[in-house]
């Protein structure tokens, strides 16, 4: 509205009030983004997950300075199938975060990156699967043998 700045300001204020009064309260459908949006969401999720692992990891490792016995008992408590599964999740999260990080670096610094982002997404997905399949096999081998018995 040219020439009517005061009116515009009032409109903005009142509509913002509506917005805050609950209009924007996560109503509506989820935005249906493409590969770019979901890789970004996953990057955040895995980033936070890895951060929490590092937080716990620094704490339990620091425990060795406090009391080696306590440290040993904490580490011993990790030797369960559930923690083994968490480790697989951790490797998966770190691997994804690293691969997608490389993809984002290419999107940022390589002039052809933005045009090839979709293809690069499928490349990192393929690399992730290729690394994770044998990774899961060897990481869970011990647990599976302990629970279900060894074949050899």
């Amino acid at each position: 509205m040219p020439g009517m700045p005061e009116v515009t300001t009032v409109d903005v204020a009142s509509s913002t009030a509506n917005l805050e009064a609950g209009v924007a309260k996560s109503f509506g459908t989820l935005y249906r983004g493409g590969e770019g949006m979901w890789t970004w969401v996953l990057q955040r999720v895995t980033g936070v997950a890895v951060f929490f692992f590092l937080f716990v990891h620094v704490l339990d490792t620091a425990l060795v300075r406090v009391s080696p016995t306590a440290y040993n008992s904490v580490i011993a408590s990790y030797k369960t199938p559930i923690v083994n599964l968490l480790e697989v999740g951790l490797v998966g999260a770190v691997l994804y975060h690293a691969l997608n990080g490389l993809r984002v670096i290419l999107v940022d610094f390589w002039s052809k990156g933005p045009r090839l982002q979709r293809q690069m997404t499928w490349v990192i997905a393929a690399v992730w699967v290729v690394v994770m399949v044998p990774g899961i096999f060897f990481m869970l081998k011990h647990t599976v043998e302990t629970i279900f018995g060894s074949t050899s």
């Binding site: 935005y31 949006m37 610094f109 933005p114």
Partner: protein, 249 residues
């Protein structure tokens, strides 16, 4: 003579009932946004805009939405159709799954005023901030400012922008951070930064070299997917980022 007459077979288009689930909000009546379903007979070649016009004309005159040209040029009818930002006048019913209700919502991230109408002022404020006009230097030439086809090609993509806000309101960063310039403003800046006739590049780069400038972009490519003009928006934003890093325009 009669034997030679071939009657061309006209393809038969059958109108089918399609449900449109529209996010309604009348500020004088409603306290919050809610869905309303409208069943409209539609031909597969009809546009979503036709459905909205039919609803407003025949079923519920209170339905409010913006439209001007109706042909994808003015950029008035950007809305979220089946969860994606689209122009209602460029979205055909046959390209949507009409076996399920088609959802139509206002674009996200701008203050909602009524039904499908949002306040575009924050969007245009960001646009104005990047100085979206030619800044020439030297004396005014006595003839046209000439430019080679190669120089034009560098920024040609960005000149297609119709300021519909599909891109800016598809950006997850813009939804949560109203201070971010948004893709459309950066495309507008890019269009002049890389114009050989323009000399305001440094000024615009400085404006965008900000916490809320190009560095806020997280390359989700939602803007590129949403653009009804097919502008490679993320690519343009990345070019501005690289121009800032390497200071080469």
């Amino acid at each position: 003579m009669t034997a030679a007459v071939v009657v061309p077979e006209t393809p038969v288009l059958i109108a089918q009932d399609v449900t449109f689930r529209i996010a309604r909000f009348l500020p004088d009546v409603d306290s919050e946004v809610h869905w309303e379903d409208f069943v409209v007979p539609m031909y597969p070649t009809d546009r979503v805009l036709d459905a909205l016009s039919k609803i407003k004309g025949d079923l519920d005159g209170t339905l409010s939405f913006r439209r001007s040209c109706g042909h994808g040029i003015c950029g008035s009818d950007a809305m979220r159709i089946n969860g994606r930002n689209r122009l209602a006048c460029k979205t055909l019913v046959k390209d949507l799954d009409s076996s399920k209700p088609i959802t139509v919502e206002a674009i996200k991230g701008l203050p909602l005023e009524k039904d499908l109408i949002v306040d575009m002022e924050p969007f245009f404020a960001a646009y104005r901030q990047v100085l979206p006009f030619l800044i020439p230097d030297g004396h005014e030439p006595s003839r046209e400012r000439l430019q080679s086809a190669e120089d034009r090609a560098i920024f040609d993509d960005g000149t297609k922008c119709i300021l519909c806000a599909c891109c800016t309101t598809s950006c997850p960063v813009y939804w949560t951070d109203g201070q971010y310039f948004g893709p459309a403003a950066i495309v507008a800046a890019h269009r002049f930064i890389f114009d050989s006739r323009d000399s305001g590049a440094e000024q615009r780069l400085e404006i965008l070299n900000d916490r809320e400038g190009v560095w806020r972009c997280r390359t989700t490519f939602n803007c590129t997917d949403a653009c009804p003009r097919g502008i490679e928006i993320t690519k343009a934003i990345q070019e501005v980022k690289r121009a800032l890093i390497f200071r080469r325009v």
